[in-house]
């Protein structure tokens, strides 16, 4: 019964949601609007579970003195500091250095976000510039027809986009880059989209019919 009931719930919800698309009546519309709310609540609770998992993992690391457990202290400390900063009452003032309570501009909570999270996020994202170069160097070798096509289009589009490309080679290079983007690129994109669309359709169908039940854990 532990697997049958969820399956029944899922099939019922799936069939209902598929059919409600064709029903303009307000009752299905109401249910549809409220679905989002439910997803949000379930997701929020799941996040609490997730954070319990994260913390217990790091507490376990500390307990077992696993290598690198010192960093777990830092992680846990910063988690609690950030969480606590979000629950500070509005009237608290930690001074001009740390900021105020509450979650408004200039609060400790948003200061941590703006001065710790934002720069690190931007830097992580920026590391991609390094990785994109090393990946290009390693993979763009003319080993086969396929690899050569990949290499050539990537290079043409790259040169076509920077000012120095047309400056050295002439305008044709950026025209060619634009043509590649507009024609062969668009064609294959559509083929991928159709394939993905059919894949999703068939997967959704299998879900709604209860054939695909991997998410329930452990097959049948």
């Amino acid at each position: 019964m532990r697997k049958e009931i969820p399956l029944v719930i899922m099939v019922a919800c799936g069939v209902f949601m598929a059919i409600q698309f064709f029903v303009p009546h307000e009752l299905p519309a109401l249910i549809y609007q409220n679905l989002n709310k439910t997803v949000q609540v379930v997701g929020a609770v799941a996040l609490v579970l997730g954070i319990v998992s994260l913390l217990s993992l790091h507490f376990a690391k500390i307990n077992r003195r696993q290598p690198g457990y010192g960093y777990s202290y830092i992680l846990i400390a910063f988690f609690f500091m950030m969480a606590a900063s979000g629950f500070l009452p509005a009237k608290v003032n930690l001074g001009s250095f740390l900021g105020t309570g509450d979650r408004v501009e200039g609060s400790f909570y948003l200061n941590l976000y703006n001065y710790v999270l934002t720069p690190v996020q931007a830097t992580m994202f920026a590391l991609l510039a390094f990785f994109i170069a090393s990946a290009a160097f390693r993979a763009f070798r003319a080993r086969s027809v396929i690899a050569t096509l990949l290499l050539l289009t990537a290079i043409i589009v790259m040169i076509g986009r920077v000012p120095i490309g047309p400056f050295v080679l002439g305008d044709w290079i950026s025209d060619l880059a634009d043509w590649i983007m507009a024609v062969p690129n668009a064609a294959a994109k559509r083929a991928v989209i159709v394939g993905v669309g059919l894949g999703i359709l068939s997967l959704s169908l299998k879900m709604v019919l209860g054939i695909e039940r991997a998410w329930l854990g452990g097959g049948r």
């Binding site: 934002t118 996020q121 931007a122 994202f125 510039a129 390094f130 994109i132 170069a133 090393s134 290009a136 160097f137 390693r138 763009f140 070798r141 003319a142 080993r143 290499l151 290079i155 790259m158 040169i159 986009r161 920077v162 000012p163 120095i164 490309g165 047309p166 400056f167 305008d171 950026s174 983007m181 507009a182």
Partner: protein, 290 residues
Amino acid sequence: MSQPNPSAPTLGPGFWEKFALLDRRIIFAFIFLGLALPLFYTIRQPIPVSPEGRAYYQSIENLPAGSKVLLSFDYDPPSSPELQPMAEATFKQLFTKNCKLVVIGLWPQGPQQAEQALATALRDPRFKDKKLEYGVNYANLGYMAGNEIVIQKMNADIISTFPSDYKGNATASLPIMRGVRNYKNFDFIINFSSGFVGTREWVQFCVDRSGAKMIAGNTAVQAPENYPYFRSGQLKGLLAGMKGAAEYETVAGQPGKGISFMGSQSVAHLVVILFVILGNIAYFVSRRKW
């Protein structure tokens, strides 16, 4: 792939074999230098201005002085390297033309980006004497959740869509909002966007339905999607990524970050292409030995 031969000291097959398996940190170092060094020098490279970039500048330039302009900031900090320079330059051009600016955001962090760009633009010495005043010359109405629904709602009534501004004032009390009801009361609309919700939705739900005139600034990855709108006239101008910002600065005759960053871009692209070419030489030289 064969193992590199450690005993080969000089140029030759041994060198190329080693090169084919180059430590990626050497590439990283070249990329870093390729991006950083050009910042110290002004690299003089002609920046070819695309028709859509020129049109972007011209359509602002053609606005009558004192026009009312709506700007929507639909991006967040990760995209700011591409969009912030164009936003700053756009603000400057608009203030030079004495336009009245109303800013909104359909991304939660959009209004914050707008505040930063505004602050940079207002620091410009040219606007010192103009006494630009919040609520009169410009206003920031903040973020509103709802994506394209917000765009549609604004077509009916902007003040009820944004009841209060970014600072918590009642929108209706701002002098700049006097007589503003919907898109018809704006002479021009500018959108900076890095994805959904963004330029496409603005064209579909604002331009197509209200006939407003609009230009847009996009990230380089997103821009190709929106070129068709420029060709069909639904967009009056379009800037694409950092290159777009550089084009804009070129037309406007105001070199800024966009142009100076383009030097780094060109060098870094050349570095990548050079490494790919060398990698292929290495591949073919070392393969011949097999």
